[in-house]
């Protein structure tokens, strides 16, 4: 697993499982290829399993395009939370 994948292990595991039969994610810049229902499920997973709430306005295609983008979104959220 590449060190550049800064996603929480639980999330990475979820992403890899739900994208089967596609191979696991190794490159942070490879497209995640999440369809709309996959996205809804991912949001629900983030909220219930990791306690991260993604706002409706943040469901941008760009935020979920790659592991790097997703990692940045989550980092910005935890930074925001730390400042509150």
């Amino acid at each position: 697993m590449s060190a550049t994948l800064s996603l929480p292990p639980k999330l990475l595991e979820y992403l890899n499982e739900s994208r089967q039969p596609l191979p696991p994610i190794t490159d942070p810049d490879q497209p995640l290829q999440i369809d709309s229902l996959g996205l809804i499920r991912l949001i629900s997973f983030l909220e219930t399993e990791l306690g991260i709430r993604v706002e409706d306005e943040e469901l941008l295609a760009d935020n979920f395009a790659t592991a790097r983008a997703l990692g940045e979104l989550l980092a910005s959220k935890s930074a925001g939370a730390a400042n509150e």
Binding site: D35, S36, L37, G38, L39, I40, R41, I43, S44, E47, T48, D56, E57, L59, L60, A61, D62, N63, F64
Partner: protein
């Protein structure tokens, strides 16, 4: 076929007409059903929502449903297009007041409709089958005061104190009064048949209704257990999809079965046991459901897209609510529009909630899954899915859905924007 001029004549012996017969007979109001067909006759619309149970209880029909062993429906399950997996709901998550069981029923409508008609008869309703009503008759004061029947090529007039149009999608009175408005948005079309050897899903959801999303505008498929062996399967899409496809019904059916992985899996060993049937399913409503001496109930008043199995429930509640006003009319000897109109108000408000829910659903399909899987909204969506749409002053979850759709529409680059359909949501 003498009819007393002081009774209620109900045209049509489907679920709406029969349920009304039950309510009126229980209240001691004389009533007669004239049914054009000879039951049993086939009919689509085999799955029910939970709220129907309350009406079955009130008209003492639950023991019949139990005795006849109709499959119990404990929930519903949705399968996405393209990918595998399902989202489901179980009715026991949200118990309803006045409903003492955690399931409703799937029914073979031939048997169900006949049983309900016979039940009305057992409670005192007079029933004539194979009699086609051709017209509702109005007196000089513009009160409905009877009907014209066609029997063996002869026309017969039957007087009545009140007339109820329960003719279903035939919409006899709606057409006669020219108050029928076809819906500008929903013009759906179904191809359906019964199959055996349909593979049941995992144990928990084996007796649920299964809805499969299809990768075509407003396309979905139903899977409804009819008996242990037989399953009703239907493909629904916009009528133009079928027309422009120019395919034989069987080929059309096969094509869309193959388009959803879970559906294709469920159908891989299936064998058809009756002919494919085609059903135009456009939605409509009447400008009026009640006037001097008449009411329209069930599909004769309003028809909405069947995605949420709402049809029989709307029919049953239209019978319940109209019976309350008819009782009042007999008590006060006043059959005016003003006395009957509160029924219309109640039914219209409830069916509008169904319609709005259906419209938002088709507007953005992933929205439904999002709300079902959301801690905040799940119970409220369940409440709607169970048919709790009547006597509600507000439905906040529909406002939340609208707000979400607006966010998707107005946020540049929103991931769900490509999924928005062109349905106007007002």
């Amino acid at each position: 076929m003498n009819s007393d001029s002081n009774e209620v004549v109900i045209i049509g012996g489907g679920p709406a007409g029969s349920a009304l017969g039950c309510y009126l007979s229980k209240a001691g109001i004389k009533n007669t059903i004239f049914e054009a067909a000879n039951h049993p006759r086939p009919h689509v619309g085999e799955s029910m929502v939970m709220s129907s149970v309350r009406v079955f209880d009130e008209i003492d029909f639950l023991p019949v449903l139990e005795r006849e062993g109709f499959p119990k429906k404990y929930g519903a399950s949705w399968h996405p297009p393209v990918t595998k997996g399902e989202a489901d709901i179980s009715f026991d998550e949200f118990p309803q007041e006045g409903v003492n069981q955690d399931y409703t029923y799937h029914v073979d409508r031939q048997r169900f409709d006949l049983l309900l008609l016979k039940h009305a008869e057992s409670l005192g309703t007079r029933v004539y089958q194979g009699v086609q009503a051709s017209e509702v008759l109005f007196d000089e004061n513009k009160y409905a005061r009877g009907i014209r029947l066609r029997i063996a090529e002869q026309e017969v007039e039957v007087p009545a104190r009140m007339v109820v149009d329960a003719t279903g999608r035939q919409t006899l009175l709606g057409k006669q009064l020219r108050v029928k408005k076809n819906d500008p948005i929903f013009d759906q079309f179904a191809v359906h048949a019964w199959f055996k050897n349909v593979e049941k899903a995992k144990e928990k959801s084996s007796n649920y209704i299964h809805i499969y999303f299809l990768p075509v505008e407003r396309g979905w498929a139903w899977q409804i257990p009819i008996t242990e062996e037989i399953t009703s399967m239907g493909i629904v899409a916009e009528k133009k999809v079928f027309k422009e496809g120019r395919m034989a019904p069987g080929d059309y059916f096969e094509k869309y079965v193959a388009s959803n992985p879970d559906l294709a899996h469920a159908m891989r060993h299936a064998k058809r046991v009756n002919d494919f049937k085609l059903e135009g399913d456009y939605s409509y409503k009447m400008d009026t459901f009640a006037g001097n001496g008449f009411v329209l109930i069930g599909d004769a008043a309003r028809f909405v897209d069947p995605i949420f199995s709402s049809g029989v429930s709307v029919a049953l509640y239209s019978a319940k609510y109209s019976s309350e006003r008819i009782k009042y009319a007999f008590e006060h000897n006043d059959f005016s529009e003003a006395v009957l109109k509160p029924y219309e108000k109640k039914l219209r408000a409830g069916t509008e909630i169904w319609y709005e829910f259906i419209t938002l659903y088709y507007k953005l399909l992933p929205l439904f899954t999002k709300f079902i899987e959301s801690k905040q909204h799940r119970v409220e969506v369940l409440r709607l899915l169970q048919g709790e749409v009547f006597d509600r002053s507000e439905v906040p979850v529909l406002d939340a859905m609208r707000k979400f759709i607006r966010t998707v529409e107005e946020t540049p680059g929103h991931a769900l924007a490509p999924m928005l359909s062109n349905i106007p949501i007002g």
